[in-house]
Symmetry: C2
Subunit: 290 residues, 2 copies
Amino acid sequence: MLGLDPDPRELWPASDAGAGGGTPQQRAADAVLRHCQALIDATAEACVAVKLQLARFEALAAGGWSALEAVAAHARRQGLLVIADGKRGDIDVSARAYAGALIGGLQTPFGQLAGLGADLVTVNPLVGRDAIEPFVAAARAAGAGVLVLVRTSNPGAADIEELELRRGGAVWERVAELVEQLGAPGIGDSGLSDVGAVVGATAPGHLARARELMAAAPFLLPGVGAQGGRVEDLAPAFAPGRAGGLVSASRSIAGAHRLTGGEPAAAARAEAERMRESAWALSEDPGLVR
Amino acid sequence: MLGLDPDPRELWPASDAGAGGGTPQQRAADAVLRHCQALIDATAEACVAVKLQLARFEALAAGGWSALEAVAAHARRQGLLVIADGKRGDIDVSARAYAGALIGGLQTPFGQLAGLGADLVTVNPLVGRDAIEPFVAAARAAGAGVLVLVRTSNPGAADIEELELRRGGAVWERVAELVEQLGAPGIGDSGLSDVGAVVGATAPGHLARARELMAAAPFLLPGVGAQGGRVEDLAPAFAPGRAGGLVSASRSIAGAHRLTGGEPAAAARAEAERMRESAWALSEDPGLVR
């Protein structure tokens, strides 16, 4: 899966061609949009989804939100699922507003506000069950899904997520139980639930335990490539079939040409195909390919 | 302090006057802007800050971000601090992008991207220390501050934040230790640090312990009013002086006229003044008034 995490200081060379006037934000947003479109076009055949890192678009203000919508639309036209990676988490009324923004919109006296229409959204569970439920409700109504941060890919994941509980297990394992509970009513014909988990590819030792706690949850597996995770270590994620694991890489695809040389699009395509082959080699059940 | 949490279905009556054409998002964003400006104008004299709930603006897409910038500028013109309540939390590169978006911007080949210029931002600590540090660095460089979610105001706070640790204490107390550590280099002449804590006013039993763990942290105290918290219960927050506690109410100020009758602006002003008097009555040190 293609992670889109566009740093405006590291866009593909052609992205700022023809950049017109406007504010720095607007010019950067235009270039980010072209960069993301080119990356999608280069890698779509080897991917099932794009993951949009919302921080990069938020940094571009209003023009960034427009670019985000345009990138999501472009990915959809290429047949890709859209994952809005915002890691939002807030009390119930605010969670409903975020869910409306990223999934299905909101009915108001001003008319129906369109949402981003994401197929999956990442959610931060710290604030508790009532911060997750509005996302689950909105996703379920829209045929979308939720990916809850369970064990993230960064070094700091040890600070809170790994704390050992008096009742046994770690904080992240308690979050995993919540994911399993919230997802139970949303298990579809595929055997997968509409509530999944973010489990970093950088700590593969946790994957078997995570799969034990969340049998039906799709796993989003970030951290492959630039953060040090390796696809080959992720087998437990694919226990329910190929669709059980969504392997995400951002910088290692967008920046593949820096390692391999050559044209950025060709290098990105080759890296995305290499990742897909590695992931599929781990999976046994071709019936679940998406 | 005035919480701005504008539900487009519950704006003050005059807010949609003169709403022109455009998309539903744009009309809603225009009305939200007018509503927030009117609320600020009505209550500015009784407040030190506005807290902007980013979810409400995100739900209005690109027009919502423009409205957010305009509301922040209006609050600043009225002499108020601006708190960007986005509860962002992500790995280091993404946290830097969010910090740029909400605080000091980012230098790019397209020119300097302006940030929102918030004086304080709320941050979610689940992902760990490396999700907080980029916000602290950006805030410290800009003379701003960070408010880390320590113990939130919602019922679900018990699900994760209250879990008891094997080493003793609860998850939220470990987060409080992190806040104290990150804030130690940022204690100013006032005795307050530039790293503070969100501690819900709905669980006042935690406040004395929170103050014990975070002696120098400013506390943002949401949950007064609609969520059931009472200013009178918040005394420990003000131990370092009046500026030690920022009491936040959103719906109880914006919707005061529904309880008291009369004109919305007058009712909001009266409620904001009542809250200020209650908070100041708890504090002993007039030297720290902001």
